[in-house]
């Protein structure tokens, strides 16, 4: 299998970037931002958009008193305006060894999706954070905003390689726990992983879920994982787990293949249920789905992009 994960080709083509300019990262929740931005905030602030009135209390800024209303009603009311803030967009990339698998390669595919999402976030003055994880968060690029850090973002993604060695075995729960500590600001978190994790997925999602974050989980699977026959997995085989080196001796028969596919489907369903339970938006994609179709069509349908 060619090592396509680290191929030094451009993650985003200029024409594709141009098409992405029209999109923006959407959040299903109205979240509190840090800086003034293009997005409506929970806070009432100083924008031009009127929001509400409230009674004056001592200490309020006298500039916001509606004097016309005072003249009519002889009571002090304060005019409140909508606050527009920036959105924190965190793209979390799984770089465990299992991602370096399949044709097209899952990691490369994930990197491209991450690049596209980051690009969209940056062009709309959102706060973009990139994280990679294996057994824990392994690398990060935080606080990028505006078009200027685009090369930094692309450079960060391009230098990501699958983790080898002991850390190759992923630990999603541990990584999410660490991520929750790192990403204190509310925002959109996009989790790009194959979710082939032997740990407890429910526990992992628990750290991220909640009112604070709007979490999207995108499960990426290679065609060879969906149908092993395409990967020449036939006959008497010793299957080695690419992450932990675990060996499974199998005699692949049609019945076993059938059972495998049923299991895969059941597992994906399990991941989906866990996500839904935690209010996490879930979607699955095979890596043979054209990348632009995923970004321009499916992610828009899912509401992540708009």
């Amino acid at each position: 299998m060619p090592d396509t994960a680290t191929q030094p080709e451009s993650l985003l083509s200029p024409s594709f970037m141009h098409r992405l300019d029209r999109l923006d990262v959407m959040s299903r929740k109205v979240l509190i931002g840090k800086m003034q931005g293009e997005r409506r905030s929970k806070k009432k602030g100083q924008s031009v958009e009127f929001a509400d009135y409230r009674s004056y209390v001592v200490g309020d800024d006298l500039r916001f008193i509606d004097w016309n209303l005072y003249a009519r009603l002889d009571k002090l009311f304060l005019r409140l305006f909508m606050e527009e803030e920036d959105l924190s967009v965190s793209v979390v990339l799984d770089v465990t060894a299992s991602m370096d698998f399949g044709e097209p390669n899952k990691l490369l595919y994930a990197k491209r999706v991450a690049a596209a999402l980051s690009y969209i976030g940056l062009t709309h003055y959102n706060r973009v954070n990139l994280y990679t994880f294996a057994d824990t968060v392994t690398d990060m690029a935080q606080g990028m905003r505006g078009r200027r850090p685009i090369p930094r973002m692309l450079g960060f993604l391009q230098r990501q390689e699958p983790i080898a060695g002991e850390a190759a075995s992923g630990n999603l729960a541990n990584a999410c726990k660490r991520l929750a500590l790192l990403q204190r600001q509310p925002g959109v978190i996009v989790l790009l992983s194959d979710f082939l994790d032997k740990g407890d997925l429910n526990q992992a999602l628990r750290y991220l879920a909640g009112e604070k974050h709007d979490v999207y989980a995108i499960q990426l699977l290679s065609p060879q994982e969906v149908d092993p026959a395409k990967g020449n997995i036939l006959g008497d085989l010793r299957l080695r787990d690419i992450e932990d080196g675990d060996i499974a001796e199998v005699s692949v028969s049609p019945a076993l293949l059938k059972k495998y596919k049923a299991n895969l489907q059941a597992y994906c369903q399990h991941v989906r249920e866990q996500c839904l339970r935690r209010g996490v938006a879930y979607m699955i994609s095979e890596t043979d789905v054209p990348f632009d179709t995923l970004v321009l069509k499916y992610l828009r349908q899912k509401g992540l992009l708009g």
């Binding site: 698998f101 994982e225 036939l234 085989l237 049609p254 299991n263």
Partner: protein, 691 residues
């Protein structure tokens, strides 16, 4: 089953089976493939094992098949043997029935082929027994080395039995002998075959070391003479061939309609009226409707539908059978028509059945004719009455003086008239009887002489001496197998001064007195002369019952060539046919088979006829002998239902003798089995490897 070298096989089994199993479990080469996660695979395997109790077995199907292959090969290595048909030193006689009923097609292609196949199987099983002895020679008699049987003999039987191959261990000779057995249309007579085997059986029973096993391969429809069949000193085994309740599994239910009797006779007073009688029987289990067609010289003249019921479970045959049909399974038909001349009659039915040979019967109708006899005597009332009582239509009497006035040609009838009834009076005679008078010229007609002799070189009468004229003599010997003396008892006949005959080797002596031959037959230029040296009036013979019997025999034999007057000429298969022939060295008959026989003494004798049908000849013979109708006409043969039991009595031998049995090696079966399983294993393997 036992083994010749079990130790070796066990040794190899001890080595190879654990090796194979360990190879399977420990050394199975699995291709290493890296996958993103074994999580789902392990789960799938676990579930498969849980959900399918036979999963482990299915997984080890290849091992199972390989163990099977190895097991079969190890079995072969142990040299398994099976007991076969004969004991060591025991002799085998294979008796094959090739009678008419064995031509039935209820087993494909015919019963005879099936019987031959069974015989070849027997020979094969014996032939394989010769292997382990290592000393069986390929040709001829063997010395009967250790482990081989005492050889086998092949005997075929129909009406007669024939040894096809004497005892040998050479399977090639035995197989050839079996293959050369041809089909016949004769009846089954097991008795001659048993008589052929009897000497061997007697010898083997006298010698304790040998036993004789007789395999009778037949449909069991064999004829008995009422005394029962017996073969002492042998073990008899009956291999039934053919369908029916007791027959082979898978054989068709016998279906046969047969003509079991067919005859014709002319009316006593009006010889031109012919009556044809036939009996048709159905031996199938279903009622049958058929049409009987009678044809004259190939042209169908009468058709009569018949309806026959299903055959009863047991059809009584033989001497105890009732004369008239007891159920509707058989019926008699009669056809009457006018035919003065000769013709070939053929009766056939149109029911398609399994035995074609009895679907047709044919006979050659002799022309209408009357027997005319001339008695040349000075006066002999005994003789005249005797001749008249012998069924003679016309008897003319002449004195010797008058006889001498006749031209010899005028006394001759000149053969058979085509017109039949013409020449009733005054146109010669069939037989001339000379009583005490020797003619001066040899008559051209068959003649009988008492106390006289024809002027022929080969025979001369010597009267008894004067002093012996009144001595009484008895007849010492009479050839009762001769047609003239059949049923003629001469023991109580006393002759007074009979004289004697001087005969040449060409003459046949019929009876011998105390002083020499007293009765002889000589044939010259196709004319038969029967000469008795004594005078019937000088004996007590005329008052004995044998006298008219003798005259009857003589008139029929001399005048009508053995045929009863006006009847048709037809023969049955297996019959020896004597053809009166005056000219030519040999006669060739063509028909179902070609027969060429030499003419001797005015007659050509055909060998026993094997096949039914019409035999014709271009040689110059009297009608009706130019066309011979040969028929099966046997109810036993037409009844195709295989007999379940063959009743042949044997004198029980020493039953305590240990039966060692011939060891026939069967390792080849296991090798073939291993190859077959190997093929299966390959199929399973490839099926698993390719989806």
């Amino acid at each position: 089953m036992s083994f010749l070298s079990p130790g070796l096989a066990l040794l190899f089994a001890g080595i190879t089976i654990p090796l194979l199993v360990s190879l399977y479990f420990l050394k199975l080469r699995r291709r290493m493939v890296t996958v993103s996660s074994t999580l789902l695979w392990k789960k799938a395997i676990r579930e498969m094992q849980v959900n399918s109790p036979f999963q482990r077995m299915r997984r080890s199907l290849l091992l199972l098949l390989q163990l099977l292959i190895l097991g079969a090969l190890l079995f072969a290595m142990a040299r398994p043997t099976m007991e076969t048909i004969a004991n060591p030193g025991q002799r085998v006689v294979i008796v094959i029935d090739h009678s008419g009923s064995m031509n039935a097609t209820d087993v494909s292609p015919t019963r005879l082929d099936e019987a031959k196949k069974a015989a070849l199987d027997l020979i094969d099983s014996m032939g394989a027994g010769g292997d382990n002895g290592g000393g069986a020679s390929s040709t001829g008699e063997t010395s009967g080395g250790g482990g081989t049987s005492g050889g086998a003999m092949v005997v075929s039987f129909a009406q007669n039995a024939q040894v096809r191959q004497t005892f040998t261990n050479d399977p090639v000779l035995l197989r050839d002998a079996v293959k050369q057995i041809d089909a016949t249309d004769q009846v089954s007579m097991l008795e001659p075959a048993l008589r052929l085997i009897e000497p061997y059986a007697a010898r083997s029973s006298a010698d304790d070391s040998e036993g004789l096993v007789v395999y009778i391969i037949s449909d069991g429809r064999v004829r008995e003479d009422g005394r029962g069949l017996s073969l002492a000193g042998a073990t008899l085994k009956y291999i039934p061939i053919g369908g029916g309740p007791a027959g082979n599994a898978g054989a068709a239910d016998p279906d046969n309609v047969g003509i079991v009797s067919f005859s014709a006779r002319r009316d006593f007073d009006k010889p031109e009226i012919v009556q044809v009688f036939a009996r048709v029987a159905n031996y199938g289990s279903e009622p049958v409707k058929a049409n009987l067609s009678l044809s004259l010289d190939g042209k169908v003249t009468r058709v009569q539908p018949v309806s026959l019921g299903a055959a009863p479970a047991v059809v009584a045959t033989g001497p105890d059978a009732p004369a008239t049909p007891t159920s509707g399974y058989e019926t008699s038909v009669q056809f009457d028509f006018v035919l003065p001349g000769t013709a070939l009659l053929e009766l056939s039915h149109d029911h398609a059945d399994q035995l074609p040979v009895d679907d047709k019967a044919r006979l050659t109708l002799a022309p209408a004719r009357r027997l005319r006899v001339l008695l040349v005597t000075e006066g002999n009332a005994f003789l005249a009455r005797g001749i008249q009582s012998a069924g003679v239509r016309q008897l003319a009497m002449m004195t010797p003086a008058k006889f001498e006035d006749q031209a010899p040609e005028s006394l001759s009838r000149g053969g058979w008239e085509a017109a039949g009834t013409s020449g009733l009076a005054g146109e010669g005679f069939d037989v001339i009887v000379f009583d005490g008078y020797s003619p001066t010229t040899t008559p051209l007609v068959d003649s009988l002489y008492f106390a006289a002799a024809p002027p022929i070189e080969g025979i001369r009468r010597i009267p008894s001496a004067e002093e012996d004229k009144h001595t009484s003599e008895r007849i010492l010997y009479a050839d009762d197998s001769h047609p003239l003396l059949r049923y003629v008892v001469l023991d109580d006949v006393i002759l007074s001064g009979p004289g004697r005959l001087e005969v040449s080797p060409q003459a046949t002596v019929l009876a011998t007195g105390q002083s020499g031959p007293i009765m002889a037959e000589i044939v010259q230029d196709g004319v038969r002369h029967v000469v008795a040296s004594f005078d019937v009036l000088q004996s007590n013979w005329p008052i004995k019952i044998s006298f008219p019997v003798f005259l009857g025999n003589t008139m029929q034999t001399l005048g009508l060539g053995g045929m009863s007057e006006g009847a048709g000429v037809a023969y049955r298969t297996g019959e020896v046919v004597s053809i009166p022939a005056d000219t030519g060295d040999s006669i060739t008959y063509t028909g179902p088979e070609t027969l060429t026989v030499r003419r001797t003494q005015g007659a050509a004798v055909l060998p026993p006829l094997a096949r039914a049908g019409i035999y014709t000849t271009d040689a110059k013979v009297q009608p009706p002998y130019d066309r011979l109708g040969v028929n099966l006409l046997d109810a036993d043969e037409s009844d195709l239902r295989t007999a379940g039991v063959l009743n042949v009595s044997t004198v029980a031998g020493d039953t305590t003798a240990q039966r060692a049995g011939i060891r026939r090696e069967v390792w080849r079966w296991f090798v073939w089995g291993a190859l077959g399983v190997m093929l299966l294993e390959w199929l399973v393997y490839t099926r698993r490897m390719h989806l």
